[in-house]
């Protein structure tokens, strides 16, 4: 099963490699990983999505908690959560295709953030399913490049 782990870490050199090394060294998988500073000085938040059975996830969480530079680990899959990912997608948009692409952008409520003579860059935010759906639809126009942030997530206020 896929799990979303929210990990508070000390923001210091090496902390990312401690966490990623733990996954690679023990044969665990990282699907997505996102790191950014929090409001508190010196503390960053990492969101990792990973796949494994209950025993593996339990072991991953315990191993993460064992790292001295990890302050807190929460498995957001265990609670109601809101999860979002952002993606930039550059798609071929020669004359004749452009109107169709813009219609899809409209339906997905995403937006165009850059325009070239024969291509468009689209910014989309949503769940992984929504992002995958857009990729599927855009494939027939020719996707040139994508960049994704990986999931970020939070516990919902109303549980």
């Amino acid at each position: 099963m896929r799990h979303i782990l929210s990990i508070l870490v000390e923001n210091e050199p090496g902390v990312l490699s401690r966490v990623s090394g733990l996954f690679s060294g023990r044969g665990f998988n990282i699907e997505t990983l996102n790191v950014a500073p929090t409001l508190e000085d010196g503390v960053s938040i990492m969101t990792i999505t990973t796949v494994g059975d209950e025993q593996i996830i339990e072991q991953i969480i315990k191993q993460l908690r064992k790292l001295v530079t990890v302050i807190k680990v929460v498995d957001l899959t265990e609670v109601k959560n809101v999860e979002r990912e952002m993606m930039l997608l550059k798609v071929s948009a020669e004359d004749g295709k452009r109107a169709e692409i813009l219609r899809i952008v409209d339906v997905f409520r995403c937006k165009v953030v850059d325009v070239g003579f024969d291509e468009l860059t689209i910014e989309i935010t949503g769940t992984q399913d929504k992002l995958s759906a857009l990729i599927n639809l855009m494939q027939r126009f020719g996707i040139k490049e994508i960049a994704r942030t990986g999931a970020v997530a939070m516990r919902r206020s109303m549980q």
Binding site: G14, G21, Q55, Q59, R65, K66
Partner: protein
């Protein structure tokens, strides 16, 4: 008062109560060495190879329970220590390693003798630091010592660039440190204590399975009390040997791949398995699905990651072993006082006695005028010392015979690389223990293969008059690999025969130590006695049966009751 980084380091070591450290100088640590004459209370043991230094610090730590300290230079000095760091990590031994580093402006430039030792040792240390600010040095050292010996102990490395050693800062040593990401859990949960006590009362066939955690948490007394008061048989892992008196009738012997028949069968028939400070290593469990398959398993460990890692357990307990056993003993005393009935264990002990009788630990005695049996050498050491000594071992057959045929009765008397299985560990570890206990007899049970991996430390032993006794069980082979080749690889003794070997007696003498050779069984005791009485470090080269095997043996991947017996 402003001090240089080098002075801050040595001052701080003094505050941590360090009396001896093991090291080797180099360009990136000269500033530290320059200060040693000003710190006469800090004894420095100069080794001949950095691997020796880290194993000595490890042996010192295992024998004393204190933190061992090792100091090496940057680059190759640091990488030479890595095997020893991994050895200490696998066995949860508290060691602090100080490595020199190139000056901070050069870091990352592929400078001379530069290596990213923090990156290299990240997976084999409990934690590590690169110090980039001299004002944070004292706090870092305090944290390192705190981390090394608290919770589940382990090695902690501090990488100290040369310019930081030279810069000055005001010195004040913190009394306490706290880290928000590190809060080991020691206290047992009362409900769990009660639950375990109930299980013990109900159990007809309980077994205590003790590991190295019993020794590192100083829980031997409590464990012994528990076993004796409630009549529970005890087995231990290699790392746990000595945590329970080997002369007690409840003692089953070691379990696992080379464990006793009684121990492995008791585990397999147990209805309650109390795992204390052990981690269900593959060398212990054999085929996992068959291990203690009839038992309710209680697992007590300070490290949550050890629990549910290999074996699914029924009662997981995260706590310090000693504190938990103390609470459990109190709870059980109350239960007994209240007159609650406990299941009788007579039938269980009858069964155990039968197993012990049927297949005791044994070996085929030497033929008349035949070669000496290595097991007999270990037995002779036990007889001559009456068990009152510290045994270090190398790795392989020598290690298993030293585990099987010496009756350990006290904790911290067996120093052996259990998890990593590091050949070359025993001799330097013995030197470290001897440095801690100059008056004690410290013996390294070695093989002719392993001993050559850190033989250069003979110079260290002679230089500091640390009279370690090396007893080589010399079979002319890398014996354990040869045994596997014999049993599982069609006797294809490929690259395991050490027919070209140094003359160990002359080698000892060349280093200024004493050398002895034993060829005949009748000379063995007298020669060992002479070596043990010598004030010098000694090598006793005992020529033993070349193709003797370690039995019992459970082939890899088999259930622990599927044993090859003598």
């Amino acid at each position: 008062m402003e001090l240089t980084g080098a002075q801050i380091l040595l001052e701080s070591l003094g505050r941590e109560g360090v009396d001896v450290l093991f090291g080797f100088p180099g360009g990136a640590v000269i500033d530290i060495y320059h200060q040693f004459p000003n710190y006469p209370n800090l004894k420095h043991v100069l080794v001949r190879h950095e691997q020796g230094a880290i194993h000595m610090a490890d042996g010192y730590a295992r024998a004393t329970g204190k933190v061992g300290v090792c100091l090496v230079t940057s680059g190759p000095g640091a990488t030479n220590a890595v095997t020893g760091i991994a050895t200490a990590y696998m066995d949860s031994i508290p060691v602090v390693i100080i490595t020199g580093q190139v000056p901070t402006p050069l870091i990352g430039n592929d400078a001379f003798q530069e290596v990213d030792i923090v990156g290299i040792t990240r997976p084999c240390t409990k934690h590590n630091y690169l110090v980039k600010d001299v004002t944070k040095l004292a706090r870092t050292i305090k944290e390192a010592f705190y981390l090394a010996q608290s919770g589940r102990p382990g090695p902690v490395l501090i990488d100290l660039p040369k310019d930081i050693q030279q810069q000055r800062a005001a010195f004040s040593y913190p009394k306490k440190v706290s880290m928000r990401g590190y809060n080991p859990h020691y206290e047992p949960n009362v409900k769990q204590v009660r639950k375990v006590a109930e299980l013990i009362c109900k159990a007809k066939n309980p077994v205590l399975y003790a590991g190295g955690g019993v020794i590192s948490s100083s829980a031997s007394k409590e464990l012994t009390k528990l076993a004796q008061a409630h009549n529970i048989p005890v087995t231990a892992t290699l790392m746990g040997l000595g945590c329970f008196p080997g002369d007690d009738p409840r003692w089953l012997g070691m379990l696992g791949m080379h464990g006793t028949f009684a121990a492995n069968h008791a585990i397999s028939s147990a209805d309650l398995l109390l795992a204390v400070g052990a981690r269900f290593d593959d060398r212990v469990t054999g085929k996992l699905s068959a291990f203690a398959s009839k038992a309710t398993i209680v697992h007590i460990d300070i490290d949550p990651t050890s629990i549910q890692k290999n074996v699914s357990v029924d009662v997981p307990v995260v706590a310090d072993c000693r504190l938990f056993l103390e609470a459990l003993n109190k709870e059980l005393a109350e239960v007994v006082k209240s007159g609650a009935p406990c299941a009788p264990k007579d039938a269980w002990f009858e069964q155990i006695t039968a197993w012990k009788k049927k297949h005791p630990l044994t070996y085929k005695p030497a033929a008349k005028d035949g070669p000496i049996k290595p097991q007999a050498v270990v037995e002779a050491i036990h007889k001559l010392t009456k068990g009152d000594c510290i045994i270090a071992t190398e790795v392989g057959q020598n290690q298993m015979w030293a585990a099987q045929f010496f009756n350990y009765t006290k904790p911290r008397t067996l120093l052996t690389s259990g998890g990593l299985g590091t050949m070359g560990y025993g001799f330097p570890a013995a030197i470290g223990a001897q440095a801690a206990f100059p008056e004690k007899l410290v013996i390294d049970v070695a093989g002719d293969g392993s001993i050559q991996m850190c033989i250069q430390e003979l110079a260290t032993a002679v230089a500091y008059n640390l009279p370690v006794k090396i007893v080589i069980l010399n079979n002319g082979y890398l014996g354990m690999v040869r045994q596997w080749q014999e049993l599982f690889y069609d006797r294809n003794y490929c690259n395991t025969c050490l027919d070209v070997a140094p003359d160990f007696v002359k080698l000892a003498e060349a280093y200024g130590a004493d050398g002895f050779r034993v060829k005949k069984a009748e000379d063995m005791e007298a020669t060992l006695k002479a070596a043990f009485a010598s004030p010098k470090p000694c090598i006793v080269d005992v020529l033993v049966d070349p193709e003797e095997n370690v039995y019992p043996m459970v082939p890899a991947g088999k259930s622990i009751t599927e044993m090859i017996l003598v």
